[in-house]
């Protein structure tokens, strides 16, 4: 293990590449987190099962890719309605069983924890614990710009993720339903005056949050081979990013994701990959303890 003091001896190109890798990774993390930013950040629904749905998305991309040879990203776009419907159903159950009865804290948390666990174990039972991966033309080659190495395997997910984030931000700020979603957390009365049922708005928002998991899952399996328990590592990441970015802000999510990506990339470059999982959770613990309103919160 090296010590931080030795950082000065690290070659310049390693440093630059770690930074670039961190940015690419961070952009991808934003796609995984944006669903949580909507459900936890905006709707105040602590959906810890979100990473489970991301892994589910990975496996669907994997099955269709290996059986039929379709591109994983296209598969995930085709799966959006299915995940949207899944999200709508889950919200309906959550609302009827916990939210309406005012039992959303203890039992709601246990519910999502159970869903996460059931998804993971079911995937283990069907596919086993072997790592699975997909095939696509952009997995493998790299673009080299000077000393910077840009693997397409990272660059493509980065671009898709940025498009997803930009699309969601436009939707939330420019459309009627989007603005209603942003308002739902703060002012249910105003929402009723706009003649929108809060439950319906929340259902749409939650369904969208689950739909993003389809895309995030495809991106995940492009970046790395996936096995069912990979989702657990992402629980810390997504909540760390969500809290860092100031709960419910989409641009904040992107910035938080980039910061965590860079931090993790530097950790694994300079300390070794076995320490990387602790970074996200360590950041999460620190942020929760000292800055729960996020770095950009008031």
């Amino acid at each position: 293990m090296r010590h931080p003091g030795e950082l000065v001896d690290i070659p310049y190109d390693l440093l630059v590449n770690a930074l670039v890798a961190g940015l690419l990774l961070g952009a991808f993390y934003a796609a995984v987190t944006v669903g949580i930013s909507i459900s936890f950040g905006i709707l105040d629904i602590v959906n810890i099962a979100h990473p489970g749905f991301v892994i589910l998305g990975s496996y669907i991309a994997y099955i269709v890719n290996t059986r039929l040879g379709f591109d994983p990203i296209l598969v995930s776009i085709a799966m959006l309605p299915v995940f949207y419907a899944l999200g709508a159903v889950i919200y309906q159950v959550y609302h009827a069983s916990f939210e309406r009865r005012g039992q959303d804290s203890l039992r709601g948390l246990a519910f999502f924890f159970g869903l996460l666990f059931v998804t993971e174990v079911a995937l283990v039972l069907v596919f086993g614990v072997d790592y699975r991966y997909v095939h696509a033309a952009y997995i493998g080659p790299s673009i080299n710009i000077g000393i910077i190495d840009l693997p397409l395997r990272m660059l493509v997910p980065c671009l898709v993720s940025l498009a997803l984030i930009a699309g969601l931000q436009l939707f939330l700020t420019k459309t009627f339903i989007g603005r209603a979603i942003m308002a739902v957390a703060q002012d249910q009365l105003a929402l009723q005056l706009m003649a929108a049922s809060p439950t319906r708005i929340k259902r749409i928002a939650f369904a969208i949050s689950i739909a993003t998991a389809a895309i995030a899952g495809a991106l995940l399996i492009i970046i790395q081979p996936v096995e069912p328990s990979v989702g657990r590592e992402y629980i810390g990441r997504v909540f760390a990013i969500c809290v860092l970015g100031g709960l419910g802000s989409i641009p904040g999510t992107l910035i938080g994701a980039m910061m965590l990506g860079i931090l993790e990339s530097f950790t694994s470059t300079f300390y070794g990959p076995s320490w990387a999982p602790a970074v996200a959770f360590g950041v999460l613990l620190l942020v929760i303890a000292f800055r729960p309103s996020g770095l950009f919160g008031r």
Binding site: L106, A110, G114, F117, V118, W275, A278, L284, A289
Partner: protein, 315 residues
């Protein structure tokens, strides 16, 4: 019933269970029974925080593993008898529980839950990278084959866990009937109103996390001796977190009986599934039961039975 009577009764039942298994004479029953007892302690401990105050701990595995790894550490540094290791494991986990609570309990409940999840992963990474306690590959402990006066070592561990279960249940029941349990209930119902009524909520929550974490650590301390071998992925297994939530939720969270019933049912079910089908299927059933119960029977088995009895009395 007075607490002393309850403890006496528990001890009698425990002695009877031990005698019965010895009479059957099948050593596997001690090995399987140990696991059931261990889950009784874990579920009861989880419920002291989760059921009584309403704060969800997803990091049961972390507290359990803290107990197991403090045993590994002392086993290498200066070997001590297992009962003493249980006390040490309890103290270590209790202190971590207190620290964890102090950092996150001033915030909304969700942050505590997420924080405990984070704690489990941070600790697992630390242990995985700590060579002294075996790192990722794990560590062996040499356990004696026989214990004087008693016989096989598995019976000795079984007895220790049996005693821990009696202690855990007595603590839980004691809390329920004390002023402390009364304060816990006000926190679960409405924290703001509790403060306004003069309940020192933060202090009570810290007491709950400390007791709960400490008991989980105690349950984990004999674990290396039970297996003879511990690796991080086993000690930090997600099934500990899931089971210690599922058992009280399925049994019923408002009294000590619920976690006891839930633990006996689910742990036995999993032991049976592991032997006959596969352990994955066993834990899948636990997950499905957890989700079904929180949706359909929010008060657990205890609530179902109470409802059924009320209906019968009413008709």
């Amino acid at each position: 019933m007075r607490s002393s009577t309850f403890i006496l009764l528990c001890t009698v039942v425990a002695a009877f269970v031990f005698a019965a298994i010895r009479w059957v004479g099948n050593d596997y029953l001690f090995v399987a029974g140990y696991v059931v007892l261990q889950f009784i302690v874990l579920a009861t401990a989880w419920n002291i925080l989760g059921g009584y105050t309403g704060y969800v701990n997803f990091g049961s595995a972390a507290f359990f593993a803290l107990g197991a790894y403090s045993s590994i550490f002392f086993n290498k540094a200066f070997p001590l008898p297992v009962p003493l290791l249980i006390v040490i494991g309890g103290v270590v986990s209790g202190i971590v529980g207190l620290g964890m609570g102090y950092l996150t309990l001033r915030l909304r409940g969700a942050f505590f839950a997420i924080g405990t999840l984070a704690l489990a992963i941070v600790l697992q990474t630390l242990v995985t990278n700590w060579r002294y306690v075996g790192g990722a590959r794990g560590a062996y402990v040499i356990r004696p084959g026989e214990i004087e006066f008693l016989g096989p070592y598995s019976q000795y561990l079984f007895l220790l866990m049996l005693a821990l279960a009696v202690i855990a249940l007595s603590i839980a029941r004691g809390i329920e009937r004390s002023q402390l349990g009364y304060g816990f209930a006000t926190i679960r119902d409405d924290e703001l109103a509790a403060e306004a009524s003069g309940v020192p909520t933060l202090r009570l929550k810290l007491i709950a996390t400390t007791i709960s974490g400490g008991l989980m650590g105690m349950a984990g301390a004999p674990f290396p001796y039970y297996l003879g071998y511990v690796q991080p992925s086993a000690a930090f297994g997600l099934e500990y977190a899931v089971n210690s939530i599922a058992m009280p939720m399925i049994g019923g969270t408002t009294s000590w009986v619920g976690p006891l019933i839930g633990a006996i049912l689910l742990a036995t079910l999993q032991q049976w599934a592991t032997v006959t089908i596969s352990s994955e299927l066993g834990v899948l059933i636990v997950g499905v039961l957890l989700v079904s119960f929180v949706i359909l029977a929010p008060k657990g088995i205890v609530g179902l039975v109470e409802g059924w009895r009320r209906k019968k009395a009413g008709s």
